[in-house]
Amino acid sequence: MKKYLFPIISVLLACLLATGATSLALKNSGKGKITIGPWQTNAETGSGKADTYLRAWVALNAPWALNSSEVIYFLAFEDSEGQTLDCNCDYKIEGAEPDARWWSIAAYEDLHFINNPINRYSLNSNTAEFTNNYTFTIYLTPEAKYMNWLPSCQKGGQLALCLRCYGPSDAFRNNIAAAELPTITKINCR
């Protein structure tokens, strides 16, 4: 029995190490290489250029993403002040249209659609109301209080936003870091 002690301990420790390293890697691999305010992206998302870690993260969190020539995906888990997005708070998302063929901003709780009475999970370049200078203000709140209402969560899960830019212009795609993206500002909390 004694001769198996080292091999058994070695295998158990290796499994523990591998599990810990994998969990840690999956937690951090999704962090975008490009950060613009609260938004993060990685130009290699979905493409064959993605490394093993990014590919695993995308597979678990946003499988079958298109590559950046087709769509640029930006994720936000924080507001513009760096505070984690919170179901108990109201936010406004303000900005101008991204330089893309079509765009949308969708809200998620624990990475899935948020149940709401009007089945609205996003606002996009067709459904958002604009001001005269082509800017918009979207309100992310649990209850309908404003125009351009994007229903938020009520359960207390992880709140996240995804900005999708379909058919980005060459200028946008070639210099993603220079893009001007909407701000996410906390209005108040309950």
Binding site: G46, R55, N67, W102, T127
Partner: protein, 185 residues
């Protein structure tokens, strides 16, 4: 002391191998898990559902199985196997100008090919997927794509501009359902 160092080093190496193996395996496992959850009603989905396109309407809360799904998109979905024969995918393109794309993925979730409606001349797209080494002479208008592996995923996406517009949903659904995937026997 030498024994402890030996087993310590072996533990680290084994841990690193297991960790890297897990990272490589995750995308393949996710593909298997998602396909089996989508086709859960079919006992042997790998053989019964292969080389066919299935048309899903826009998703609602509770029916979005894929994380961070796009709520404004109607999707046709399937998986192909070109081990024995090439596979044809035929699609009609929306004439309304709504974004449309046909994208192909390896089993490891890499998006290795995409075609969108701005790149298509006309109102139809015919794409033939072959495996490496397979020969196929395309007919006029056909696009031939070589799959990096024998199996992969097909996604046809049509953006719905307003998901609460039932007329638009119905029109998109008509175009969507004209798409099909068949093996070229």
């Amino acid at each position: 002391m030498k024994k402890i160092l030996f087993w310590g080093a072996l533990t680290l190496v084994l841990g690193a191998v297991l960790h890297f193996g897990a990272m490589v395996a995750i995308p393949h496992l996710v593909t298997n898990r998602l396909l089996s959850s989508v086709f859960s009603t079919s006992g042997n989905w790998r053989s019964e559902k292969v080389n066919q396109l299935f048309h899903a309407s826009i998703r609602m809360a509770g029916t979005d199985k894929v994380p961070i799904d796009n709520p404004d998109i109607a999707t046709s979905f399937g998986f192909y196997d070109v081990s024995d024969h090439p596979v044809r995918i035929h699609c009609e393109i929306p004439t309304t100008g709504n974004y449309w794309s046909l994208s192909l993925y390896g089993w490891n979730t890499d998006n290795y090919y995409v075609l969108n409606n701005k790149q298509v001349k006309g109102t139809k797209a015919d794409l033939i997927i072959i495996r490496k080494g397979q020969e196929y002479t395309p007919l006029p208008g056909e696009i031939v794509v070589t799959s990096p592996g024998k199996k992969g995923i097909v996604l046809v996406r049509i953006i719905v501009r307003d998901r609460n517009n039932s007329g638009e949903i119905a029109a998109v659904s008509v175009v969507q359902k004209m798409a099909y995937m068949r093996p070229l026997l």
